[in-house]
């Protein structure tokens, strides 16, 4: 505890890096998953192929993928972010497609009857109604990405994992505790925040 009290600035910097890396990866993953998810909601074949490919990526062990990306992306943040995006895609695509498919057909019919174009229908009706399911997917993706970020410190991406690896290398327990517990707290806090958002959105769409 005294180590943490004296070195809180070091932990704060690592936490800041961790959040920036994870957030960047989540935004990129959403940007890629959105068009694929929309296409997958319309076509069963696109869905099957997209989920098979993204599911394959998801199953690759974290450290193995980070290592396999080294010749492609070298060491550092780019490598880490590519790996995180790869791991986050499956749950995002699945939930975007499922959310859009679950929009009641009569609501879509009514919107068409009012003369909405396909684009208006998607952004004004389908997306808002699918949002709770999409946020549920983003919740799992965010937690996955935070977990991968811890490991990514091994390929020099920075973040809280740096404290853990330095602590293990120097056999310095307080450093390990500080890094690991802060990472756990971050994951639990982000999960809780997304859960709260999800509940609010669901309450709104019912009421």
């Amino acid at each position: 505890m005294t180590w943490l009290a004296r070195n809180w600035d070091q932990v704060a910097v690592a936490l800041g890096q961790h959040i920036v890396i994870a957030l960047t990866a989540l935004v990129i993953a959403l940007a890629i998953a959105l068009p694929i998810g929309i296409a997958a909601a319309r076509s069963a074949r696109v869905y099957t192929v997209a989920i098979a490919v993204a599911g394959f990526l998801y199953t690759i062990p974290t450290l193995a993928l980070l290592a396999l990306l080294i010749p492609l992306a070298g060491l550092g943040r780019t490598n880490a972010i590519i790996a995180m995006v790869a791991f986050a895609l499956v749950v995002l695509i699945r939930n975007i497609a499922t959310g859009l498919r679950e929009v009641p057909a009569d609501v879509v019919d009514a919107a068409r009857g009012m003369g909405m174009s396909a684009r208006q229908l998607l952004w004004r009706i389908e997306m808002p109604l699918a949002l709770p399911v999409i946020v549920a997917g983003a919740r799992i993706a965010a937690v996955t990405i935070i977990s991968v970020t811890v490991v990514a410190a091994y390929v020099n991406a920075g973040g809280l994992g740096t404290l853990i690896f330095n602590g293990i290398a120097g056999d310095h327990a307080p450093k390990i505790w500080s890094g690991a517990l802060t990472a756990c707290a971050l994951a639990v806090a982000v999960d809780g925040a997304f859960a709260f958002a999800e509940r609010r959105l669901r309450a709104r769409s019912v009421g």
Partner: protein, 214 residues
Amino acid sequence: MLADAWNYVLAHPAQFATAFYVHVALSGAALALAAALAIPAGIAAARTPRVALAAVGAANIGRTLPSLAVLALVMPLLGTGFAPSLFALTLLGLPPILLNTIAGLQGVDPDVVDAARGMGMAPRTVLTRVELPLAMPVMFAGLRTAAVQVISGAVLAAFIGGGGLGDFITAGIAMMAWPQILVGAIPVTLLALGTDFAFGRVQRRLTPAGLRAP
């Protein structure tokens, strides 16, 4: 590059075999321990809605914890090696099995349970002959998730001296030796994919024919 990796395996057959064996043993033992703890706990918790809610809450928190953080937290407490790694990986395997055991049992149609009771089945018989078989596909899906997670986590066990295929990857990264990275990364990826596929096949067979997706 693949040839270099293959040559590395041929040059160090015993080292590769040991790492592979340790990886499978570590993952298998952790999965078995996690199942032995989480399945009975889930069955007990599913009886009482309030206990089930608390168990689901705890498991949901457990599921969010980063794998490497859990392994790292175990190290200052239990030290390095196979046993501390086994302990940490067992912890990582618990949440998905517990969550799916509870979800599977709670998903059983109450009318079916009523009918079984009406036929004069004892509570234990209702559980073993009706509830567990109906919950089995969901429970097994939890086991599948846990298996893949534990195999992936076992790669990270290399950081706390657990051995396994992660050793090749960490050594390879440290020395920037590409063949060595492949010697660890390819078999462990195949192991995870193969396990996922095999568990998926079993899961499908456990699902009653009428409930199977086409």
